[in-house]
Amino acid sequence: MSAPTFLRRPNRVLSVYAILFLVALYFPILLIPLFSFNDSIYVRFPLEGFTTEWFGQLWDRQPVWDSLWASVKVGLPVSILSTTLGVLAARSITRDRVPGRSAVVTFIMLPLVIPTLIFGVALLALLSRLGVPLSLYTVAFGHLIVCLPFSVATLLPRFEGFDRSLEQASADLGENGWWTFWRVTFPLVMPGIVASLLLTFTISFDEFIMAFFLSGNETTLPIYLWTQLRFPQQFPSVLALASLLILFSLPLILIGMWISRLGLHENTTKGAKT
């Protein structure tokens, strides 16, 4: 295992490429926290001094708290609903012999590849046509569409790796349906559920386009952030807010992805060592 085989031989060109790629990808993001502590309203080098003033400004501003609260009010129900629907979808896709199974999966996954802009415009047109007033509810509805594919994608491998005979074995050993769910099904799909909750909450929390089209009077945090971009003197506090969003979202996503892989390899009874 340790000796590099032909296929596993380290490839220097590929490594350099990977590093360059990652730097290009994340460098701009790293600038955000950097400048949010810079004692100047201009984003430029050289840095002028360390300050926490911009964070302090945020703290005192009521609209920040209002939009934060709005984001939470949208994100929590969206993540719960999306995960619940995802569980139901993943379960029926893997258990019941759905005709045209792969077509169903494709259909559920479609919002991943259709630009959110199109969805946003279409929904806005539909809602105004129906006379539905824009509010946080309509934002949540939009977010549900965006989040559902992520829920299903996180949960499907869980249910796919789930061996039907485990539930039969539980019944065979004397447990009824409820205890079987509690002792076997739930623990085995639990990591997927937690991961889906974390991912979808973060996605909803950071989502801009749907919120932009579908917001009413109350706006979510990303929209608030965007409105502040118009005022140059606000820019450092926008950076501070963005830093906080990164600080908050990144761990959530990473934890979610880590949990979603947890125990997946143990879950396949057929792949047992012999």
């Binding site: 485990l166 074995a169 019944a171 050993l173 004397g174 009824n176 009874t269 047992a272 060592k273 012999t274």
Partner: protein, 365 residues
């Protein structure tokens, strides 16, 4: 066996999946403490029959009784049976101890008592000290034993085993066969054992039901099946068999004779039941019932033949003997008792002989 001391009684059970009939009017009686095997090729309905015993699938028609009780409306979790699944179904999120103790929840035992019982089981399956291992750290053979322990700890009246040794390599399988048989004697539980491996069934079972296409062809002891198969299907599924078409001639009380193509006129020690005089039958003779010699034996029936082919198998050799009146050579199996024994009659002609009581008479197809 009469129906009264049957511990498991399967009465005219049929099973349909949609319009497909997986089980066709099966009736079986299995005695308490018996090691009973269901033997059949893949797709013959063994798993389906087993899952009706376990309660995962309802029977479309017929009844199943266990210990005199109809299982008709009894769900799996209330049946006095436990199953060792084809893929073992070890719970991946639990360690070995919690897997084995899974069914003990309802007994509400104190933890120390539970662990003690698990340790006893681990002792029994020869995996002491494995309690805290994770499921994915186990080999196939170990999983199989843990599945066994998980079922046995509940002291079921019946243990159902669905090809439990199928996933193991040959050597481990033979070792586990022996252990399984010893274990069954030790715990005295009725085993219903599914396999497609005829050697395994012969080696382990008290009795075997041979299945094909959802039907039971014959139920008998291993020796009964091997020596007295009731049909060509059973005869050729278990071991090898030579078939010789022929015609039955009854001589009143004096017995019967079969005029065969190839072996000539065979005098039967006992007239078979059933077939009338003149009926078309086939005579079946196992390869190892033949003897080969260079000179014609005078105390047993024989025909002259030629060695057409031979295969050396180590402990024994297979010879294929061409005889007159028959296209296909006769398969003969002989033990290699001599270290440097040349194949008999490899120089040319030889004599093929058999004992009269080895002859099995079957209906023609």
């Amino acid at each position: 066996m009469n129906g009264n001391d049957a511990y498991i009684s399967i009465r005219n059970v049929s099973k349909f999946f949609g319009t497909f009939q997986a089980i066709d009017d099966v009736s079986l009686d299995i005695a308490g403490g018996e090691f009973f095997s269901l033997l059949g090729a893949s797709g013959s309905g063994k798993t389906t029959l087993l899952s009706m015993l376990a309660g995962f699938e309802p029977a479309t028609q017929g009844d199943i009784f266990i210990d005199g009780q109809s299982m008709d409306s009894v769900p799996p979790n209330h049946r006095p049976v436990n199953t060792v699944f084809q893929n073992y179904a070890i719970f991946p999120h639990l360690n070995v101890r919690d897997n084995i103790a899974y069914g003990l929840r309802k007994a509400q035992l104190p933890r120390a008592k539970r662990y003690e019982m698990v340790d006893e089981m681990l002792e029994l399956i020869k995996l002491p000290g494995y309690g805290t291992r994770k499921a994915h750290e186990l080999s196939g053979g170990q999983r199989q034993r843990i599945a066994l322990a998980r079922a046995l700890i509940l002291r079921p009246k019946v243990l159902l085993l669905d090809e439990p040794l199928g996933a193991l390599d040959k050597q481990l399988r033979e070792q586990m066969q022996l252990e399984l048989r010893l274990l069954q004697r030790k715990v005295g539980i009725t085993f219903v054992f599914v396999t497609h491996d005829q050697e395994e069934a012969l080696a382990l079972s008290d009795r075997i039901a041979v299945m094909q296409g959802g039907r039971v062809l014959q139920v008998d002891t291993p020796a009964g099946l091997y020596e007295s198969p009731n049909s060509r299907a059973v005869a050729s599924f278990i071991g090898n068999m030579n078939f010789f078409p022929g015609k039955l001639r009854r001589n009143g009380t004096a017995g019967a004779v079969v005029e065969t193509e190839g072996l000539g006129s065979l005098r039967l020690p006992q007239a078979p039941n059933g077939q009338p005089d003149g009926a078309r039958v086939q005579v079946a003779l196992r390869p190892e019932k033949f003897d080969l010699s260079v000179t014609k034996p005078d105390d047993r029936p024989s025909v002259e033949g030629r060695l057409a082919n031979a295969a050396y198998m180590g402990e024994r050799s297979h010879f294929y003997i061409a005889i007159d009146g028959r296209e296909e050579p006769v398969a003969v199996s002989a033990q290699n008792r001599l270290r440097f024994g040349a194949p008999p009659g490899s120089e040319g002609k030889l004599w093929l002989s058999w004992s009269a009581d080895a002859v099995v008479v079957l209906d023609a197809e």
